[in-house]
């Protein structure tokens, strides 16, 4: 555990890091970024918390069972959306033209509409969930291993 200054600054900064990561994930079909990149941004915030506080403290709020459920559900949503379009072809974008995320933008450069993209925003959310949970579990397991802590089942 570091000093009180570092802990206070980390407490203030984690909010902005989470908001930026969620923005990158949710706007993956409009701006550069996506599930993998935004997930990595959020995990960098988790690493900051891990440095500022000890892994013993973070172990109380990041339950390992919750992380594994999050990662598995992200993978299942992703592959389920891929299989949902299998009536035409695997990974078919079946939501284009429907009321859910179905608006079609004009061809060419444009400001972008959040309600477009078909299954792409949903897949971005699923992959973001998966990356956040998976990489957080990896970082937390490494920190707990190096500090000699144990996970209680």
């Amino acid at each position: 555990m570091l000093t009180k200054i570092v802990r206070t600054v980390a407490n203030q900064l984690i909010l902005f890091i989470l908001i930026f990561g969620l923005y990158v994930i949710a706007h993956g079909h409009l701006t550069p970024g996506g599930g993998f990149q935004g997930g990595a941004v959020i995990v960098s915030g988790v690493v900051m918390l891990l440095v500022a506080f000890s892994s013993k403290e973070l172990k109380k709020s990041l339950r390992e069972r919750l992380l594994s459920i999050m990662e598995s559900s992200g993978a299942l949503i992703f592959i389920g959306l891929a299989f949902a379009g299998i009536g035409i072809v695997f990974f078919y974008n079946f939501l284009v033209g429907t009321p859910i995320f179905g608006r079609i933008p004009a061809t060419g450069p444009g400001p972008g509409d959040i309600w477009t993209g078909g299954v792409i925003p949903l897949m971005n959310l699923a992959v973001g969930l998966k990356v956040v949970a998976g990489l957080s579990a990896v970082v937390l397991a490494m920190a707990l291993f190096s500090s000699g802590e144990e996970i209680e089942e």
Partner: protein
């Protein structure tokens, strides 16, 4: 003797691969392929996504992204298998 035979076989395989790469691979950007023009012109209409890169990653080449997600899943599983030290109740008592 086995080493010499193996070396000769390795050289034959390498020569086969290199000659195939030099002779038959598509020359870079010449002539331009049809696929990139098709994606640039039709991606916004077909996938509804303004970010064409994301529409390629998650729609046209979605199977590749599935492989990426599988790699991540396997890596997480391996790290947790190796580094997780769980305190079990029957061992501690």
């Amino acid at each position: 003797m086995r080493q010499v035979v193996g070396l000769i076989l390795l050289l034959i395989v390498v020569a086969f691969l290199v000659s195939g790469m030099l002779l038959f691979v598509h020359p870079f950007g010449d002539p331009p392929s049809d696929m990139d023009d098709y994606i640039i012109e039709n991606a916004q209409e077909e996938t509804g996504s303004n970010n064409v890169v994301t529409s390629v990653v998650f729609d046209y080449r979605g199977f590749d992204t599935l492989g990426e997600a599988t790699i991540l899943f396997t890596a997480v599983t391996g790290v947790l298998l190796l580094l997780r030290t769980v305190k079990r109740k029957e061992e501690s008592s």
